[in-house]
Symmetry: C2
Subunit: 386 residues, 2 copies
């Protein structure tokens, strides 16, 4: 291409008023970006709740096979995967929508239900990508603070009624707190939402929760869309595939605007195989449970008590937002990537993905050393390097 010409701004086509009013933000800074900033690779990648326990060997093999057919578009109807999931979940394939990860599906739900100016309710400091989508479609977000470090179901229902919300987002088990409500409580929560308000129930971490975390809901209940993912338990975040369970009319609505060829063929093959690997699932769940216990002991040892977790990560209470921020920065200086919740009261914590036993040993060794050296006590005075 030739060098820049002197075309003036006067010729620039105008974006929509909605886009013009949007701020420039990204939901998350990626670990890759942190590596580029520091100029060195991360030693421990424990900030994005990826699965340290990896992808199912069966899924890996299926994806390697599928690569041979990479020249062909994937099936836009994700027929095989929906059939398998339907049998597993005892729903019809027409109750399932497959997307390029939960983020894609969250955007789709917001697009279908939120016009500019429409009120939406979620927890304050909840999943940033949901808030990003609400802003992106012009919705007006009303947030409800966490209560006792859990989603405040009473508060959310009340806010939904007060604001006449079109959409209410609930992550259960929750990111970033790690907390959960019982399925029965979620079910009762749904019944308390005002008529006409859709519940977007994000169950990305469902499998890590205790028995009884999944609410008993009819697949054709028009008041709720549930989202699930292959990114967490199944260790396929990089492949980009997740699904929604919803009534048929809802799925048909998604079909009106979704990217029909958007779910890549390799991920489809991997997801199908991952569902069959019960052994990998059991191994991962057991390893995560063990890791959560380890983290509990670590937190106690360094004076940072942990919050209960029904997910593959744990919040460590650093004793205040400034201290938590300083701890994230301090660990990054040591090549350890973690994150922290974005709003009070949870922003007194750091959020650490459950690593493998060797990863946990490395993290434990570092944190215990920093604790022994007084660096954790001095977090209030920490100023990030460079």
């Amino acid at each position: 291409m030739p060098p820049s010409s002197s075309i003036t701004e006067a010729l620039r086509p105008a974006v929509t008023p909605l886009l013009a009013a949007l701020p420039s933000t990204v939901p998350f800074v990626a670990p890759d970006a942190l590596e580029r900033r520091s100029g060195r690779p991360l030693a421990l990648r424990l900030g994005a709740n990826e699965s340290s326990f990896g992808t199912s060997p069966k899924a890996l093999a299926a994806m390697r096979d599928a690569i041979a057919r990479a020249a062909w578009y994937g099936d836009p109807e994700t027929f095989a995967l929906r059939a398998r999931l339907a049998a597993r979940l005892r729903v019809r394939p027409s109750n399932l929508a497959v997307g390029a990860g939960v983020d894609d599906l969250l955007g789709l739900v917001v697009r279908c239900f939120v016009s500019p100016g429409d009120p939406v309710v979620m927890s304050r400091g909840g999943y940033p990508t949901f808030a990003y989508h609400v802003a992106g479609f012009g919705g007006v977000l009303h947030t409800v603070p966490y209560r006792d470090d859990r989603n405040d179901l009473d508060g959310l229902a009340e806010a939904a009624r007060r604001h006449g919300a079109r959409l209410c987002y609930l992550s259960n088990p929750d990111n970033p707190s790690g907390s959960w409500h019982s399925g029965d409580d979620v079910r009762a929560f749904l019944d308390r939402l005002p008529p006409g308000c859709l519940l977007l129930l994000d169950e990305a971490y469902l499998e890590f929760g205790p028995d009884g975390t999944a609410p008993s809901l009819a697949a054709d209940d028009p008041r709720v869309v549930r989202t699930r993912t292959f990114s967490k338990l199944y260790g396929m975040a990089g492949a980009r595939i997740g699904y929604a369970i919803a009534d048929e009319t809802m799925v048909a609505t998604f079909d009106k605007v979704r990217h029909h060829f958007g779910v890549n063929a390799i991920a489809q093959a991997g997801a199908l195989a991952a569902l069959d690997d019960a052994e990998h699932v059991a191994r991962t769940l057991s390893a995560v449970a063990e890791g959560r216990r380890d983290y509990g002991m670590l937190g106690a040892a360094i004076g940072m008590p942990t919050l209960p977790s029904g997910t593959n990560f744990v919040c460590f209470d650093a004793g205040g937002a400034a201290r938590a921020r300083a701890l994230v920065a301090l660990l990054l200086e040591h090549g350890v990537f973690i994150r922290m919740p974005g709003a009070p009261p949870l922003d007194r914590c750091v959020r650490i993905t459950v690593g493998t036993a060797p990863e946990r040993a490395e993290l434990s060794s570092l944190l215990r050393r920093l604790h022994a050296e007084g660096a954790l006590a001095a977090l209030d005075n920490h100023s990030p390097r460079g």
Copy 2:
């Protein structure tokens, strides 16, 4: 999940007025769906302009390697790929936006520039997925018939002026006609669009066009967004990755609403490697050129002259829309998947992807036999089986 409950429609949350007004359509019926309908696999898959010449061996190897890291999210900034592309294209990385295929990027451009009711211009019978996105964001599409089987640049510019279009879509080389305009003519066309109208120049097939098809445009020209893909020449349709070239402000606009983690990690690795495989590119381009010549001879032999093609597919003139439709159905009965353009004057044609030499031999054998048997002459009377 429990069996259906008797929840009434009265409780159903309402979709946005925009969604409620949208019809239920899909841009394309996939070959996978055709196979499911017929209950048998396709013998020849020549309808979706996938690359019969496959994926670069280097890209295949890179994707197989990347699968080992499938548990990790891909880089949302696609830093490595943008850096490599920038060097190749002599633009800055900030002039590049990477998406999950061109379809994703087309949707993004429409979302950023088209508010409900805004006028948009494209050729009648042009790329259905673009029209799908325009409808999906409430735009009002004005179409201009093909002229001499090519995009009518005069007509498109005139329509853009007449309707005060916010956005004009041009595919060059064109799908579904296979035709192209010179880069100089495209450049002149851009200058004739009304001020404030964005040109969305889809260059998915650019590499297959003759020298001089790429217009000389400054990367910071705010009036145009160019889209390109790894789905066609690079044989990576199933991996889902493409990119847009635009000025920095435009890319920053996309960043406000795009799916930051939407491009899968495996495709990123594959695309990077594919760019380095000059040999595979040269081999594919040469094979496609040879295949187009073959198709030209085949068309002459069966009384269906071919249109000139600067792409990896060829239009065969079947002599009328009913005949073209019948030919698509007839070939499908023989296990051959092809498609046809959706509107006059091109709907007198069928569109056939350039296959490998063995695929072409099989197609040629079938079509010559049907011709000899009089089945092509009798297309007007053909009624599809079953």
